[in-house]
Symmetry: D2
Subunit: 375 residues, 4 copies
C-alpha cells in the first residue's frame, strides 16, 4: 500500500536519484519533475534513469519562454541586484520551477513535494516558501544529499581569499581569451522589457523573449561579460562566497538602467529605486509568491509604462559600454538643456531656488554661531 504520492524535483544527478530510491523504499509513489529552464542537460537520459529507478510518472517540461517572460523580465524592470552586485539568476529560477511543480502535485493529487536543495543555502527556503505559498496544505521533503564532489568544489571557494580557478566558468569566456573586436548591439525596450535586439555589425535581429535573452547570453558569454566573485549574506544570516556568471542579465541591466533614466521622471525613479531594492531582497529570500512581492511587482510594472526606446551599446572584454540612446517618450529636452538656448529657463530663477534652499542652511549656521558664542 502506497503512503501517497511525492512530486520530486529531479535533476538526473546522483543526489536526486538517491532521494528517488529512498522515497520509494519508504513506500511512496514518486513522480519526478524536471524543468528545462535553459540549463545544459540531457533530458532524455534523465527520463530513462528516472523510469529505471521506479518513478511512477516522469514530467519533463520546457519552461524557458515562461521563465524569461514572467520571471526574468520583471527582474530587468526592477534593475534587480542583491546587495549591489548579485543579479539573482538562481533566485528567480526557483519560484518558476516550484510553481510548476505545485501545479503538477495538485493535478496528480500528490500531498508531498520533495527536492534536494541543501539545508544551509537559500534554495531550500525559496523552494519551500513557494510551495507553501501556492499549496498551503503541502508537505515538503527536504533531502540534503550533500555529495562529496560538490563539497570538494565548495571546499576550495569556501576560503574567501582563494582565487577562483580559471576553468570554473561555464557560460563566459575568460575576458583575456575573448575577441579583440567588440560587438555593438541595439536593444529596443517597451514597457521596460526588451522587445528587440539587433547586432549593428551583422544582420542578426531577435524579437521573442527567449531568443532575445539567449542571444544576449551568447554575445555576453563570448566577450566574458557578467562574472562576479562576491561574499553575500544569505537569508539565514550567514555569509557565503558566491561566484556567478550572468552575461545576458548584465547587458540588460546596463541597457535598462540607461533607457529608464532617460524616460522616467526623476522623482518616480527615486521611489522606484527603493522598490527595486526591496524586490531584490524579497526574491533573494524566496518571497516571489508573497503578497508584498506581488504588490511591489505591480508598482514596478506601473513605473515602466513609458520606459520605451532604443539603447546602443558595445560589448567588449568583460564590459558593457553604453554608446547612445533615443526614445519617443524621453523627458530629455535638448533645447532646455542646451547652453546656447535660453528658452523657458531664467537664470534668475536658479538664484531664487538656491537662496530658498539655503534658508535652512544659513539658520543652522547662525544657530551654531550662537552656540559657539555661549561657550
Amino acid at each position: 500500500m502506497s503512503k501517497g504520492s511525492v512530486v520530486l524535483a529531479y535533476s538526473g544527478g546522483l543526489d536526486t536519484s538517491c532521494i528517488l530510491v529512498w522515497l520509494k523504499e519508504q513506500g511512496y509513489d514518486v513522480i519526478t519533475f524536471l524543468a528545462d529552464i535553459g540549463q545544459d542537460e540531457n533530458f532524455e537520459a534523465a527520463r530513462e534513469k528516472a523510469q529505471k529507478l521506479g518513478a511512477k510518472k516522469v514530467y519533463i517540461e520546457d519552461l524557458r519562454e515562461e521563465f524569461v517572460q514572467d520571471f526574468i523580465w520583471p527582474a530587468v524592470q526592477a534593475n534587480a541586484v542583491y546587495e549591489d552586485r548579485y543579479l539573482l539568476g538562481t533566485s528567480v529560477a526557483r519560484p518558476c520551477i516550484a510553481q510548476r511543480q505545485v501545479e503538477i502535485a495538485r493535478k496528480e493529487g500528490a500531498e508531498y513535494i520533495s527536492h534536494g536543495a541543501t539545508g544551509k543555502g537559500n534554495d531550500q527556503i525559496r523552494f519551500e516558501l513557494t510551495c507553501y505559498a501556492l499549496y498551503p496544505e503541502v508537505k515538503p521533503w527536504s533531502m540534503d544529499a550533500n555529495l562529496m564532489h560538490i563539497s570538494y568544489e565548495s571546499g576550495i571557494l569556501e576560503n574567501p581569499k582563494s582565487h577562483a580557478p580559471a576553468d570554473l566558468y561555464l557560460m563566459t569566456k575568460n575576458p583575456q581569451d575573448s575577441p579583440d573586436t567588440p560587438d555593438d548591439l541595439e536593444i529596443e525596450f517597451r514597457n521596460g522589457v526588451p522587445v528587440k535586439v539587433a547586432n549593428l555589425k551583422d544582420t542578426t535581429s531577435k524579437t521573442s523573449p527567449l531568443e532575445i535573452f539567449s542571444y544576449l547570453n551568447q554575445i555576453g558569454g563570448k566577450h566574458g561579460v557578467g562574472r562576479i566573485d562576491i561574499v553575500e549574506n544569505r537569508f539565514i544570516g550567514m555569509k557565503s562566497r558566491g561566484i556567478y556568471e550572468t552575461p545576458g542579465g548584465t547587458i540588460l541591466l546596463s541597457a535598462h538602467l540607461d533607457i529608464e533614466t532617460f524616460t522616467m521622471d526623476k522623482e518616480v525613479r527615486r521611489i522606484k529605486q527603493g522598490l527595486g531594492i526591496k524586490f531584490s531582497e524579497l526574491v533573494y529570500n524566496g518571497f516571489w509568491y508573497s503578497p508584498e512581492c506581488e504588490f511591489v511587482r505591480h508598482c514596478i510594472a506601473k513605473s515602466q509604462e513609458n520606459v520605451e526606446g532604443k539603447v546602443q551599446l558595445s560589448v567588449y572584454k568583460g564590459h558593457v559600454y553604453i554608446l547612445g540612446r533615443e526614445s519617443p517618450k524621453s523627458l530629455y529636452n535638448e533645447e532646455l538643456v542646451s547652453m546656447d538656448v535660453q528658452g523657458d529657463y531664467d537664470p534668475c530663477d536658479a538664484s531664487g531656488f538656491i537662496k530658498i534652499n539655503a534658508v535652512r542652511l544659513r539658520e543652522h549656521r547662525r544657530m551654531q554661531g550662537f552656540s559657539y558664542s555661549k561657550k
Copy 2:
C-alpha cells in the same frame, strides 16, 4: 573708492578672466583663488595672468591631500553612486573648493564670492549652497560666461543618441588600446578607507591617501577603467547627458563594496545602503555642508568601524575583477558555511524557520481561496 572685495574662483581660462575684468570695471577689489585638486593645470601661468589682469591678491592652494581624505574617502565609505551609475567626481570637488574660498573671504574680509559655473548646471547650486552654509551673510556673484568652444562640445553630446568621440577622454585609455596584461592589486582598508595599495606583480606600494588615490587613477586610467556615458537628472529637474571618467574611484568602489559586505553585518548593511543612497543625492545636489549630510556622514562613518581587511583584484580592459579577500574582522565563518561540517547549524531549525515564514503566505492563500469560493 572700492565697492568691496570679491573672492573669485579663478581657473586662468577665458571665462573667469572675463569675470575678473568685469568685476574690476564694476569697482570691486578682486582676490583670485585657484585650488589644485589634481587637475592638469599650469598654476604659475594662471597666477601671472591674474596679476596682469589686475587681481589685488592671488591665492593658489594645493588642496589635494585634503580633497582625497576629507571628501573622497567619505564617498568611498558610502559607496556613493548617484542614480546607480555616477560616481560623483565633480560633486565632491565643489564643496572642497568652496569651503576654502569661504575661509579666504572671511580672512580677507570680503563680502562677495564669485564663480563662473553655468546657471543651468548643478555646479552653481553646489558652489552657492556651500557658500551660504558656511558664510550666511555672503553674496555670491554667479557669472555664466558660456564660451563658444564649450557650447560647441556640449552641442554634439546634447543629442543623447550621438556616440561620444574617441578623443574626448583625458584620464583613461581606450580599452581597445589598453594593455593585454592585467595589473593585479591588493588594497588594504581600515575603517572603510584604503590605507595601502600594493601591486602584486611589481614592488609598488602606496600608503598616503593622495598617493593611493593617484596610483589607482594611474592604473585605472592605463586599463581604461571607469568610463560612463549616462543621462542623469539634475537637481533642478532637467535631464542631461554626461560622460565621465573615474578610474581610481571605480576601482575603489568595487574593492570597498567587497570588503564591506565581507565584514559588515547583513542588517547593518541594509540600513547603511539606504544612507549611502541618501548621501549620494545630498552630495549631488550640493548639500555637503548641511545638517542632514553631516548627520549621514557621521552614521556612515560609524558603520565602517569594522570594515577592515585586504581585497585582491585584477584591472584589465576597462573592468575590475575581484579575486579574493581576507579580514581579521570578517563575520564570514568558514566552518559554519561549509557543507561538510554540521557545526552549530541544525537543518531542522531551517524547516522551522521556513514554516514560520510561511505562516503568513499560507493564510494569504487561504483567504484568496475563501474569496474565490464565494464568487
Copy 3:
C-alpha cells in the same frame, strides 16, 4: 485695450478684493473664481462684491463632493500625516481649487492666474506648482496683501511658547465644554475609503462621501476631536507654528489605520507605510499633480483592494477610542492565534525560527569576543 485675462482666486475678503482692483487698474480683464470646499462663506455676497469691483465674469462653484472623493479619500487611504502630526487639511484643498481654476483659465483663454497666498507660506507653492503642472504656459500673479488683522493674529502665535487663545477654534468645541456622553460610531470601509457611517446610539446613517465626511466633522467637532498645536517645517525650510482642527479627518485616520492593519498583509503594510510618508511630504510640498505623486497614489490605491470591513469606535472629550472591528477580508485567524488551539502551528518551528534568526547575532558576539581577547 485689455492686456489679457486673469483668473483670480477670489475669496470676497479684503485681500483679494484689493488684488482685483489692482489688476483692473493694470489693464487686465479679471475673471474671479470662488470654490466652495465647505468653508463658512456668504457666496452670494462675494459674487455681488466681485461684480461691483468690476470682475468681467464671476465663477462660484461647489467642489465639495469632488474635494472629498478625489482629494480627501486618497489621503485617508494613505494615512497621510505630515511630520507625524499634521493631517494636511489645507494641503489637499489647494490642488483641488487650483485644478478647477486652471480649467476655467483654459476655457476662458486666460493667460494669467492670480491668487493672494502669502509669499512665505506653503500655499503659494502648492497653488503655483499645480498651475504650472496642469497649464505649463500659464503665468501666475502672486500678490501678498498681508493685511494687518491677519498679521496681528499671527503675531501672538508666532511666539511658539504662547498658548493658543481658547476662542481661536472654529470647528471644534473645547473638550472641557464637550458632552459627557460619548458618541459611538460604526464606519464601514471598502477599498480603504469609508462607504457608510452609522451612529450606534440613534438611527443616523450616511452613505455619500460628502455626507459621511460632513457627519464625521460634526461629531468630531461636537466632542472636541482633532485639535493640534505644532511647529512644522515648511517646504522652504523655515519652521512655523501651526494650530489645526481636523475633527472628521482625525476620526477617519484612527478608523482607517485599524481596518487597514486588520486586513492588509504585514509586509505590504510596511512598504505602504513608506509610500504614505512619501505621499504626505509630496502633498504638503504642493506636488499633488506630479508624476511621482500620481505614481504613489496609484500604488497606494492598489494596496487598498482588500481594505474592507467595519470599525466600531467611540468619540469622547477630544479622543477617539477604537472598540472593535470585523471584516470578510481579514487575515486575522482566530483559530491560529488562540492559545487553546494548536492547529497548524508547531511550537518546535518557533525554536527553529529563533535559532536561525540568532545565527547572525551569535556570530557577531563571537567576533566581538575574538576582538576582546586580542586586546
Copy 4:
C-alpha cells in the same frame, strides 16, 4: 547528580512555578530570577515560594532605574511606535530582563536559561534572541504552561469584534470617570530625554529618570491616557489583537515629538523618522541586542544632540494637548517666519524656487500633450 544549572525567569505565578518543579524533576539545579521593572508584585512572597519549591538560589533585582534609562529613554528618543500605534511597552522590557538573566547565568556558570513565554507570541522570540545574542553558547528552555485562566481571558479578546470589558485596565482610569480638571505639566528635555517634569498647578517637580517616568505614569493614569485597542502583526506573521495601556509613554511621545520638531533640522528629521520606524520594528521583533539595533540607536542618539528645551502640555480625559514650547537650541526664527517682517527673505526668491521646481512638472505635461496628439 545534577544535569547542570538553569536560570529560570520566575514570576511567582502558577506557570513558572510548574516549570521550576518540572526542571528539578528532570535533574537540574534551578536558580530563579525575578526582575522588578515596576510591575505590581509581592516580591517577598515570590522569594519564599521559589525557595519552598526547591530553588537552589533566588535572585530578585530592582532593574527599574536601568529599565527607564537604558531602554525606555532610547525608545522616547526614537519616537518608537510599532505599526503607527503600539508604544512597545513589553518589547523594551524583554531585553532588559533577559540581559540581566544572562549575566546571572554567566556568573553562576549555568548553561541553561528558561522562561514561560508562550510559543505563539513575540515574547519567546525577544527573550531567546537576547539570550543567544549575549550568550551564544546558552541553551534556552521554552516552557509554555498555557494556563486555562489566561486562555479564558484571551478567549474573549481573540474575537476582534468584541469590545474590551471596562474592568480590564489596570494602569489607567476610564476617561469617563477621570477628573474634570486637567493637569498641566512642563517637561524639560536634554539630548532628547526628559530631565525634569513639573506640574504647573502645584509644586511637584521630578528630576531622576525613574521618578519622572513614574510621575508621568501616575498623571497619565489618573486622566485615562494611553489606552489602545489594536490588531497588530506579530513577527511570526500572524495578526493578533492587543489592548495596551501606556500612560507615561504616551505623554512622552507627544512631548518629545514636539520638542524634536522644534529643534531638529527638517531633513535630519526625515532621515531620523525612517530610523525610528526601523528601530521600532527591530525592538518589536526582539532584536534589541543586534548589530543593526546598536547601529540605529547610535545614529538616533546622535540626532538628539540639540533636542533640548521645555514643552508645556495639558493632560485631560484620555488626551494630551501641547500648549507651547521653548528652547535655547530652536531653529525656529520668529523674525523670519513673521509676515510683518521681510528680513532676509525675498519673495522673488520664492518665485524662482517654484519655477525651478516646476521645470520637471511642465516637461512632464508637455510630454503627455505630445503623446495625446499622437493618438
